[in-house]
């Protein structure tokens, strides 16, 4: 046995203990004692030594520094005693400090969203809940059977410990963590139902008779304990596409053991029930002029309603807009630069989340990143090919962007832009015909749309037609909770959508190249 001291608290483990695995289980144990501060760590890249998010101060009997650590931490980081938890094994007694205790990030989760009209005809009497399991966050709302919203809550998805994107989660599942992943998300769903019930002052949770749980296909597979292996490689076959009810007990929802659980239909492996719900919430299933709904996140799902019919695709932009893969990137929490504008002379003016309360800038989140790039283009600090003359550019005190950050933005924004163009092309829709571009997700709310047009995240013609739909997935799930006929609509909608397979689409590849530059 060796002694591992974490933030001053001792733990005893076998020699050779992998620090990443150990700290992840610690975070699972909760934040009640000081050791549980491990919860502040994220393992964004899934333990591949690429994201640097699992950085800790460590000393004692540890395995040798790996090449990945040298790359991520640099000489200075290593000299200051930092290591990447996912790369280190404890060979003997050692001491670890995970830094500042995690702040409460739950306040930042997007919950509200646009909701199309629907016929109120709930599936339940008493109370019902709608839950959206996002890869990053989980949000929920509680309703009564008259359709009144009683409470809502948002929290981080605890599966973040296994990586930021769906592939990393499935990779962990393949390595035997599937049950732990399921347990983590079920725990979170139980917790969020508890929270909204308490907020609404409902003592008897048995009165919650119906729960609609939406999410992307991978999240729902992990929740239900379905093997995700087929979703990890081409042809990405998703046999289970849901669109039906389950007993709560079958998916371990102890908070509401008697409730009916409805999981909305998915379209494909990477176009999930959350996309279907969001499309419903913005009314894409109803007849109308051409319109596009997109969720600009890691997966970048989008749906178009056109004269020719409904088409959808998934563009895999990567997590740059969620702060991962950007040298000083972070989520939209306290200390994040979330808005940047041109100041006087050659200066930028940056807004910091929590700055009013004295928070210092410690990183940059997606909306700040887009603003910053737009400003740097304006200043010509970055040219139209994406080349940045200086090695780095200061955005706010102590927050900088480096050359590779601009390159990461180029990949992400052109994947989204090219996706939109390919979808319009496949459906024979001209850009002038698109009446609305609904951007779902929290990101859409905080995004400066003009700047999104400037950097080419979306076609500039569509800038005046953008509508921020908020957490449309949760709104759509709420509709399915409150309206049984809407479930029929969701099902027929999901069957009518044609999937545009981008990996083999020459137009996508071509546009992905074209849109990588910044048109100035």
């Amino acid at each position: 046995m060796i002694r591992i001291t974490v933030n001053g608290k001792d733990y005893y483990r076998e020699a050779g203990q992998e620090l990443g695995v150990f700290l992840r289980t610690l975070s699972a144990e909760g934040t009640s004692d000081s050791g549980g501060k491990g919860a502040g760590l994220s393992f964004a890249c899934g333990g591949h030594g690429r994201c640097g998010k699992c950085k800790v101060k460590a000393s004692g009997a540890l395995s040798a520094v790996t090449a990945a650590e040298e790359r991520c931490l640099g000489e200075t980081g290593l000299a200051e005693g930092y290591r990447l938890a996912c790369q280190v094994k404890a060979s003997g007694d050692c001491e670890i400090s995970t830094g500042e205790p995690p702040q409460d990030k739950n306040g930042c989760v997007a919950i509200e969203g646009e909701m199309a009209e629907f016929e109120l005809l709930p599936s339940f009497s008493g109370y019902g809940a709608a839950v959206d399991i996002g890869t990053t966050t989980i949000a929920a709302k509680l309703f009564d059977d008259k359709g009144n919203e009683l409470s809502s809550f948002g929290m981080q998805n605890p599966q973040g410990r296994w990586g930021a994107d769906v592939i990393s989660r499935m990779e962990a599942a393949l390595k035997g963590e599937a049950e732990n992943l399921a347990e983590a998300v079920r725990g979170a769903v139980n917790e969020i139902i508890d929270r909204i019930a308490t907020l609404a002052g409902i003592a008897a949770k048995e009165d919650i008779r119906s729960v609609v749980i939406t999410g992307n296909t991978v999240m729902l597979y992990l929740l239900c304990g379905i093997d995700t292996e087929p979703l990890t490689h081409a042809p990405f076959e998703a046999k289970e596409l849901f669109g039906r009810s389950f007993p709560a007990a079958s998916i371990g929802l102890a908070a509401v053991p008697e409730a009916e659980i409805y999981i909305p239909p998915c379209i494909a492996a990477f176009i999930g029930a959350d996309t279907v719900c969001a499309a419903l919430a913005v009314g894409l299933d109803r007849p109308g002029d051409p319109a596009i709904m997109t969720d600009i996140g890691t997966n970048g799902e989008m749906v178009i309603r056109s004269k020719k019919g409904l088409y959808a695709c998934s563009t895999a932009a990567g997590p740059a807009f969620e702060g991962a893969g950007i040298s000083m990137g972070m989520g939209g929490f306290e200390g994040a630069v979330d808005r940047v504008s041109l100041g006087e002379g050659d200066r930028l003016t940056a807004h910091v989340i929590g700055g009013e309360k004295g928070a210092r800038a410690i990183g940059i989140c997606g909306s700040g990143l887009i603003d910053a790039v737009a400003c740097l283009l304006e200043f010509e600090a970055v040219d139209e090919t994406g080349f940045m003359e200086e090695d780095e550019c200061e955005i706010a005190d102590g927050v900088r962007l480096i050359r590779n950050d601009i390159r990461a933005v180029q990949l992400a924004k052109s994947a989204i832009h090219a996706g939109i163009l390919t979808l319009m092309h496949a459906s024979g829709t001209a850009v002038g015909d698109v009446v609305t571009l609904s951007i779902a997700g929290g990101f859409g709310k905080f995004l400066n749309i003009d700047n999104a047009g400037k950097i080419g995240l979306i076609p500039s013609e569509l800038v005046p037609r953008v509508s921020a739909a908020g957490n449309a997935a949760l709104s759509g799930a709420s509709m399915l909770l409150l309206s049984v006929p809407a479930r029929e609509r969701a099902l027929s909608f999901s069957r009518m959508v044609d999937v545009v397979e981008l990996s083999t689409d020459p137009m996508f590849s071509q546009e992905f190249m074209n849109q990588m530059a910044f048109e100035c």
Binding site: G46, H48, G49, R50, T66, A67, A68, I167, S168, M170, E171, L174, T232, H233, A234, T385, G386, F387, R403, N404, R407, Q410, S503, T504, S509, F512, M513, N514, M516, A517
Partner: protein, 215 residues
């Protein structure tokens, strides 16, 4: 005169002006410059400049791609003349994205950069089974196998290719190079591949070094 036109070919190629390149090549041939010189000091020289810029981060994917397209078109035009003159490539490689993975933009870039070094490349496309790499290497006598993977869940297939090469008894006859965003040096060592490089330009440099015995 000959210097001038070769430089013009190189510069137009760097800017991706395929049409101009294709106009200049016949002019160069007419001026009596031999096809091999046009290839080396015009096309490949231009590609070298762009490759170096890409490596240092001053040029990016789209610039490299248009330049590579111009080079390919120019090279196709020169091909019959080169064959006539008995000029051969410096070696042969097969390349593909591994089974389960359909990402091919990086792979295509690597392919064009290899061609930019005068290497003949057999493109096996995407979702390529380990056996196909081995079979192609044997049947087509490739000295290099280049593997690309963009998904952390498919990079494991690269290890299978290395294993299959051993089983087929060709491990000492081929160099196996690997790359793609999730791949790194440590993984290369772990699976016993010969070389990892972070970008397409360094891949082409390393490939040339292998083929010319300077590795």
């Amino acid at each position: 005169m000959s210097e001038g036109i070769l430089l013009e070919i190189s510069e137009n190629l760097q800017r991706g002006k395929a049409k101009v390149v294709k106009e200049l090549i016949p002019q160069a041939l007419e001026a009596g410059i031999d096809p091999e010189t046009i290839l080396n000091d015009g096309l490949l020289a231009g590609m070298n400049v762009i490759g170096a810029k890409f490596k240092e981060g001053t040029a990016y994917v789209p610039e490299v791609l248009v330049a590579a397209r111009a080079m390919n078109q120019g090279a196709a035009m020169l091909k019959p003349y080169l064959e006539e003159a008995g000029v051969t490539s410096i070696g042969r490689a097969c390349i593909g994205t591994v089974q389960g993975d359909l990402h091919d933009i990086g792979k295509n870039l690597v392919k064009m950069m290899l061609e930019g070094k005068g290497i003949e490349v057999i493109d096996l496309g995407t979702d390529v089974a380990p056996e196909t790499f081995i079979q192609t290497a044997i049947e087509q006598d490739c000295q290099l196998i280049c593997l690309s993977a963009l998904l952390t869940t498919t990079m494991g297939v690269m290890a299978d290719v290395v294993k299959k090469a051993e089983e087929a008894g060709i491990r000492d006859k081929v160099k196996i190079m690997i790359g793609g965003a999730p791949v790194d040096e440590a993984f290369c060592e772990l699976i016993g591949a010969d070389k990892y490089t972070p970008d397409a330009a360094s891949c082409a440099d390393a490939a040339k070094a292998f083929l010319t015995g300077n590795a």
